[in-house]
C-alpha cells in the first residue's frame, strides 16, 4: 500500500470509527451520570 493510501485509511477510519467510539463513550458517560433517572 502506498503511504497516501495508508494516510487516507487512517484519516477516514479514524473519523468514522473514532467518531462513533467517541460518541458512544460520551453517551455511556451521560447515561452513567443520569444514574437511572426516569421520567
Amino acid at each position: 500500500m502506498s503511504a497516501l493510501a495508508v494516510v487516507m485509511m487512517v484519516v477516514i477510519c479514524g473519523t468514522i470509527w473514532g467518531g462513533f467510539a467517541t460518541l458512544l463513550a460520551r453517551a455511556l458517560m451521560r447515561e452513567r451520570g443520569k444514574g437511572g433517572e426516569g421520567d
Binding site: M1, S2, L4, A5, V6, M8, M9, I12, C13, T15, I16, W17, G19, F20, L23, L24, R26, A27, R30, E31, E37, G38, D39
Partner: protein
C-alpha cells in the same frame, strides 16, 4: 401524549434505530459504489454528506417524533399544520412502497442463508441458484417468510422491537467485524485496501462522485425516510436528540466502511483479475452470484459464507421491522388497535410485494421509483421543519430536555439551505441520468427505469394524497385544532 409505549432504555432506542439504518445497502451497495467511484475520493465526499445530509435530517426526525408523539402523518399535522397532512402521508407511502419490495429482498437473503448452511452454495454453475430463484414463485414464499418474521416482532410492540434489536445488532457488528478481519488477512487483500483508500484528488472535481456520495447517504442511513421519526415516538421525555442522531449516523457509516473493507479485500485477494466485472455486477450480482464464488475459494469459506448471509439477513430484517412499524403506527394513529394494524400492514405488504417477488423488472421499477422518492421525503422534512420554525425546533426540542450535545445555528443553515438544494439537485440528476439508460423511452411511463415512470407514479400518488388531505388530517390522530404551527 398519545403514545403509551416506550423504549426501556436509551440503548434500546439506539440499537433499534441502528438496526433500521444498517440494511442491505451498507453491505451490498456501499462497497460497489465506493469501488466504482475511485475509492478514497468517494470516501471524502461520503463523509462530507454524512454531516450535510444524513445527521441534520436525523436530528429533524428525532425532534418531530419526540415532539409530536405521532406517526409521520400525525406529526406533520401536529407540527406543520392540517394543510400538510399529505406531506406526512407521502413519507409514509414512500417508506411503505419500499417495505413491499424490501420484504422480497429480505427473503432473498434468507434463501441464500439457507443455501449457505445446507452447502447448496456456491453450486457448480455460478449464478445458477439466482437464475432459478430470482423472480420465481419460491421468492414469493421467502417474501412471505421474511414479512412474517418482521410482523411477528412488531406484533409485540416497541418492547418486541427493542428485545430483537438488542440481540441482532451486536451480533451483526460482531459478524461483520469477523468477516472484515478474515478478509484483510487473506493474501493479496492489501490491493483491495489500497484500491479503497487511495484518493485521486483530481476526481474531487467530478460532480458525479459527489452526487453518488450524497445518494449513498440518502439511501443507506435511513435519514428522511420517516423511520427514525417513528422510533422517536417511543423516546422518553428527557431523552437526548442530537447525540443519538450523531451516534446513529456514525454507527451506520462505520458498518458501511467495514463492509467496504470486507468485500473489496475479498474480491482483490481472490479474483483480482475480475474485480471490474464483480463490482460492476449490480447489487444482486455482487451479493448473490459473486460472493458465494469468492467464499468457495477461501479457507473455511463455507463458514464465512454462512456468516456473510447471516449478517445480510440480520441487516435486512431489522430494517424491514422498522418499515412495518412505520405503517403500523400510522394506522394506530388513525384508530386501529396495534394487532389489527399489524394484520392490515402484513396483508397489504404480502399482496403489494408479490409482483416484486415474481418479476425482476417490476422489482427494479419499484426500487427506482421509490428510491428517488426518498429524496422528496427528505425535502419534505426540511420544508416541514422550516414551516414549524427551524430555530424553534432547535431551541425547544433538539437542545431541549435531556440533550447531551448542543446544536448550534449551523444546523438551521444546513436545513434551510443545503438540504433543500441537495434534494432538488439529486432528484433532477437522477431523472436526467435516466436519459442515458433508455434515450427513446426516457419519458415513457411504461418503461421500467425511466423518468416517465417516476413522474407518473409520483403524480398519481401526490394527486391522491392532496385530494385526501382533509381526510388524512382527520384520521392522523392529531385531533382538531391541536397543531402547533
Amino acid at each position: 401524549m398519545s403514545a403509551k409505549e416506550h423504549f426501556g432504555s436509551r440503548w434500546g432506542l439506539v440499537l433499534a434505530t441502528l438496526g433500521m439504518a444498517v440494511g442491505t445497502g451498507n453491505i451490498w451497495r456501499f462497497p460497489r459504489i465506493a469501488a466504482a467511484d475511485g475509492g478514497g475520493t468517494f470516501l471524502v465526499a461520503w463523509v462530507v454528506f454524512l454531516l450535510l445530509w444524513s445527521v441534520p435530517l436525523m436530528i429533524v426526525e428525532f425532534a418531530f417524533g419526540k415532539r409530536a408523539r405521532l406517526g409521520t402523518v400525525g406529526a406533520f399535522v401536529r407540527l406543520v399544520g392540517r394543510k400538510y397532512a399529505w406531506m406526512g402521508a407521502w413519507v409514509a407511502l414512500c417508506a411503505s412502497a419500499i417495505m413491499f419490495y424490501y420484504s422480497v429482498v429480505s427473503g432473498w437473503c434468507l434463501r441464500y442463508l439457507f443455501g449457505a448452511v445446507t452447502g447448496e452454495l456456491p453450486g457448480a454453475e455460478p449464478g445458477a441458484l439466482w437464475e432459478s430463484f430470482g423472480g420465481s414463485p419460491a421468492a414469493l414464499v421467502t417474501h412471505a417468510l421474511a414479512l412474517g418474521l418482521a410482523v411477528g416482532v412488531v406484533w409485540f410492540g416497541v418492547r418486541g422491537i427493542e428485545r430483537v434489536a438488542k440481540v441482532l445488532i451486536p451480533l451483526l457488528f460482531v459478524l461483520v467485524v469477523v468477516l472484515a478481519v478474515r478478509a484483510v488477512t487473506l493474501p493479496g487483500a492489501e490491493a483491495g485496501l489500497s484500491f479503497l483508500f487511495t484518493p485521486d484528488w483530481k476526481a474531487l472535481a467530478d460532480v458525479h462522485i459527489w452526487l453518488d456520495a450524497l445518494t449513498q447517504n440518502a439511501w443507506d442511513t435511513g435519514a428522511g425516510w420517516g423511520l427514525i421519526l417513528t422510533y422517536a415516538i417511543y423516546m422518553k421525555v428527557r431523552e437526548d436528540v442530537p447525540l443519538n442522531a450523531f451516534l446513529i449516523g456514525f454507527g451506520n457509516n462505520s458498518m458501511s466502511l467495514l463492509a467496504g473493507i470486507m468485500v473489496l479485500s475479498t474480491v482483490f485477494a481472490i479474483q483480482p483479475d475480475a474485480q471490474q466485472q464483480i463490482v460492476g455486477a449490480g447489487n444482486e450480482g455482487l451479493t448473490f452470484i459473486w460472493m458465494p464464488q469468492l467464499f468457495a475459494h477461501m479457507p473455511a469459506g463455507r463458514l464465512f459464507m454462512v456468516f456473510f448471509f447471516l449478517a445480510l439477513s440480520f441487516a435486512a430484517l431489522t430494517s424491514l421491522i422498522s418499515m412495518v412499524e412505520l405503517a403500523t403506527r400510522v394506522l394506530m394513529d388513525a384508530g386501529f388497535a396495534r394487532h389489527r394494524a399489524v394484520v392490515v400492514v402484513a396483508l397489504g405488504a404480502l399482496v403489494f410485494g408479490a409482483p416484486s417477488a415474481l418479476s425482476m423488472p417490476f422489482f427494479r421499477n419499484q426500487d427506482w421509483v421509490w428510491g428517488v422518492g426518498l429524496m422528496l421525503s427528505g425535502l419534505l422534512f426540511a420544508v416541514g421543519a422550516a414551516k414549524f420554525g427551524v430555530e424553534r425546533l432547535r431551541r425547544e426540542v433538539v437542545n431541549g430536555p435531556g440533550a447531551d450535545l448542543v446544536i448550534g445555528r449551523w444546523w438551521n443553515f444546513i436545513l434551510l439551505v443545503l438540504v433543500p438544494v441537495e434534494a432538488v439537485v439529486l432528484m433532477v440528476w437522477w431523472l436526467w441520468q435516466a436519459r442515458g439508460w433508455d434515450p427513446a423511452g426516457w419519458l415513457n411511463p411504461l418503461s421500467p427505469e425511466s423518468a416517465g415512470t417516476v413522474l407518473a407514479q409520483w403524480g398519481v400518488a401526490l394527486v391522491a394524497l392532496l385530494a385526501a388531505n382533509r381526510w388524512l388530517a382527520r384520521r392522523s390522530g392529531a385531533g382538531a385544532g391541536e397543531e402547533e404551527s
